[in-house]
Symmetry: D2
Subunit: 354 residues, 4 copies
């Protein structure tokens, strides 16, 4: 059933397959009066797009967004914002050789069983290509929630990790290195690791950390729509994500209450921030921070055994262009999903009291 919409008031509905003529979406519920900065939207798209550096897939997609409605004289009108991103790279190549085969740890098998057949061209709807639409909408959401700022970055690749990533205060290096890690030294190690793994035709997982500053108090709706629960759902709907933790996270589960409680300052801020900016599901004005764990990409350049639709053993041959590590490109997607949640909850919060 319908499951391609996100959000309750500020909503995004997306469509499109990796090898159709276009992907696109509709942003509905965006208030009138927001000045749209096409450049910032395209910039976020460029941060996500393939081919941007040597450590990501070398596929080429223009990823140029085209707005069809809802914006007039550069300002949102309150009507739905329709947009398209044309697929320029859907080569008319022959996919018939994989038509009958299920790639390991891909969605081929489950799509076939669920829907009775599948669009086998390059993953179809299950391809991460659809996340480009999320970035378009997230970029507009960022404009709505100003002055809230959202910054994601790579905090871990394989076994190389930043310490206390949420405490890092200098973000200036993030966009200056292909890994999107804020620490120069660690970034270089990560980059080298990715290159090494790529040479072997393999892939590796990693973690994206996201920090949200300038938060107002009051976003989040008890009891089922707690703010962090919706951020979790948002980021876990991104391809390849395996885990989410916010504030003290899993590490906080081994602490004592006397260690973990955040004591108030007289202005309502807290001396520590184990809570991660959210208490009882509602933002308390402190920074929100969370980690998103990504598994290694399933498409590898090694041959693998698998099965076809009849259950026969087949060989999946590794070839083509792929991402050796998805986290650098995932950074703007994580930011976008966080922005979509915050935009929706900001509007929802407008009706908390009379």
């Amino acid at each position: 059933m319908s499951s391609n919409s996100f959000g309750k008031i500020f909503t995004l509905t997306t469509f499109g397959e990796s090898h159709g003529s276009a992907i696109g979406g509709v942003i509905d519920g965006c208030p009138a009066g927001i000045a749209i900065e096409i450049e910032s939207i395209q910039n976020d798209l460029n941060r996500r797009k393939p081919g941007q550096s040597k450590i990501v897939t070398q596929r080429k997609e223009g990823d140029k967004v085209e707005f069809l409605s809802g914006i007039f004289d550069g300002v949102t009108t309150g009507t739905p914002i329709g947009f398209l991103i044309k697929n320029t790279n859907q080569k008319s190549k022959d996919y018939s050789h994989i038509k009958e085969n299920y790639r390991p740890s891909h969605a081929d098998f489950v799509y076939d069983k669920k829907y009775g057949f599948r669009d086998y061209r390059g993953g179809g709807r299950s391809s991460a290509r659809e996340t480009a639409c999320r970035v378009v909408a997230g970029s507009i959401a960022k404009l709505l929630i100003k002055p809230i700022s959202i910054q994601a970055f790579v905090s871990s690749v394989g076994n190389i990790s930043l310490n206390n990533p949420h405490l890092i205060s200098d973000y200036s290096f993030i966009e200056k290195n292909p890994v999107r890690c804020p620490d120069k030294e660690v970034a270089l190690k990560m980059e080298n690791l990715i290159k090494e793994i790529r040479k072997k035709g393999d892939t590796v997982g990693g973690v994206v950390t996201c920090v949200i500053k300038n938060m107002p108090v009051g976003l989040g709706e008890p009891v089922f729509d707690k703010l962090h629960a919706h951020i979790a759902k948002a980021v876990l709907s991104i391809n390849a994500v395996k885990g989410f933790e916010y504030g003290s996270g899993f590490g906080g589960c081994s602490l004592l209450g006397s260690q973990h409680n955040d004591i108030f300052n007289s202005d309502g801020t807290t001396k520590t921030n184990f809570s991660g900016g959210i208490q009882g599901g509602i933002s308390n004005g402190m920074d929100i921070y969370f980690n998103v764990g990504f598994k290694p990409v399933a498409t590898i350049m090694k041959n693998q055994n698998s099965i076809n639709t009849k259950g026969d053993v087949v060989k999946i041959v590794g070839k083509g262009r792929h991402d050796p590590c998805v986290v650098p490109r995932a950074v703007p997607i994580v930011e976008s999903m966080a922005a979509l949640v915050l935009a929706d909850f900001q509007l929802r919060n407008n009706n908390s009291k009379i």
Copy 2:
């Protein structure tokens, strides 16, 4: 705005404060024809209720569920199932001393800011008492999704942890010990740790692992309503949860693709299960397993500094009855939230193809 409903087809709407006359809910969208086993529902409630053992809070609540509609001659009728749980323990004590104070890492501060004032009696709506309603609905959901079976248990308390909890096959000891840990030896260590921490008036966090067996292929809806994304939202909406991971989880993020990919057997099962039973957001028929991290309970029996509504420093005095560790009682709540998600997605999946 409205945020007390969960699910799209099989929905639960709850109401009630910890110190009102009753809590309750409405289950809507439950198909007609399900034989209701009151005993199994009450049994799940008893697993959650306070006072059940020496390592949980000694508050006494009967937690007796009363059905008001939607069941006729022991069978669901397809109409909404209304139910109540009366609050029998809401002592008419004087709460005026905490009326003006914000307890650290509780929701007092944010409720006040969001709504303009708050029901200060025992946490009001932010109390975990509302989760009893989730257990009622989850118990009915378990009947709907048969033969799927859901088993949660405690896999970690403080620094004491089970190894590879999802591989444990013998669940017989879980309900035989107050911690709800399936391993006798580890359970005893956990119990002792909780007792020790309790004596100090402190609290400690832990992890609940949940394993779902007998899964059909096909539950989960791309792209925003991936199955694991909704389970994450479901469990993160439980009080005190800080993190969620499924399958290989955060540990899988440091693996290589060649290690992590699950190779198919000819029947569509996989030789390994790093995917955690879900690929592309859709169940693949393998066991689903996930971890839920709980922070230490914020109510401790130690005095703490805090502030009141004016920003003056006040002393929060630790007294009364509390849970030194929430995970043993959280086990049926985690199962219930998983059951609610699966029931909803089972019904959603009925419309995947003609």
Copy 3:
């Protein structure tokens, strides 16, 4: 599937059968800070309840509402408002004689076919008894939308009709006569007609007109959620309603554009109001008015042929207590449904522009 909730932000979820222990509901999304006037709520319930006059059913129901949550110190808290109305009149009589029979123009047949069986006691969920819960919620909605005022009244019974009911300005007589018609002379005729029909064991239909004053400009959401479309859905979900028209209604369909267009005054009001206060689905600040047509009640005191579950011809014997004409009691229900729509759209409109 779930269909017992109404509204998107300000929502009502109801439950309960006519012969269960209680009916009730949950109002979710009501902003914090509204002073609740129990007396006005109970007054609306009394306007709907059976036994209030000689021309309605003589069943006796206390229809006393009991609030369980969401209100603290007489003010809404922003959390869900749970409430109950106990069924005091569900006689433990034997319904087995109608268990197998389908009453003509009732919902017996369709419930059986849809759900596989039915709660045959007094109509079960299909009884208009559930509308009492709508009145509770509508009464609270009226408080939220102040100073908007909603007044419904009976404009037609059988062939006796008021002329231009929306132009009537004096509402003082409405609650002074059992028919709830604002015109003394016409009211008496209607009352006599109802009495006459009742003596014959028959029933008759009628029309309720509703006028909404003090409307702000801007309520209503294009394109699918036009204000009048939602009012239509709201009132057509009331038992026995067959038609809805607003503004010039069906009569306007034979007019010319040059007759029908409402010319503006310089302050944005219009010289005529064929539009019925809504243009393009959005309120324009003029009075909203609409008509709701009710069919004659299906339960008559005459014997009728019908069938049983096997398709055998059976005799349905007319006996018991019934409403000879439903419109007098429908007046507060129509008002309540209008209030629920307006409350929801007032909150929705808060996010139209930044």
Copy 4:
């Protein structure tokens, strides 16, 4: 807030302004496996499009639908169906002269007040142009609900009306005359009336009747989501609609219960059909029939007084191309909205019982 989506399981989200580059939409929740007949979709679009005959507007729009996703090898895949209709007729003419003026009985005034400004080019989002997207989706819905058949036609123009339109059995003439009236003689009178009114630069209203055959028993969800309530909402969301009635409608309100009750045949069909195929909000298998009343189009070719944004009196000059009577083109739109409702409720009904 978001209001451009229709349906709960089978959903349509639309976007686009009359003078943007394109309008379009996303159909989400359509099951996999439906063979798409582009020709039948385009045929419905052609029935709606401007310029098709001499009694409708002479604007020229190609109204060619272009599918972007969700269909593979001519069959739906279960993923969202994105589509576009390019605006080929949005002349780059100067609209600045009406930028500041509010046309009588149009949405200009309310859009301006609600959103702070408006897209003044040809009505923007409030133009009936968006209904083309409804026809695309409705046409696909018709394929899903087979063998249910939906036939709408014009039953009234001005004061010329068909008698008992729902009893007409021969639909062969409907598409053979520009008015879409099934009766040859009445059709000619209507056509002449429209031509006459057009010459005077005026417009006239009318009524569309819709009959739905081959209905299964069981579609419709109590209590708020009654089938007729959703059909009402659906058709009242079409531009210019002022009223809805089904079955006996407003005429039935003056009948007695003993006249109005539909007595069963032994097979569950009924001897009469005052119920209009729906009882208790659920289809009973008999034909559904309903009337939809349309006001005269507000755009007339006569000069009218109006105001501008400052409240000054201005003259609105009648010029350009317009529809003298909207009902002939409304026929496929009414059918489409009915089809969307039925598709959604057919899918919803799949989960009524286990």
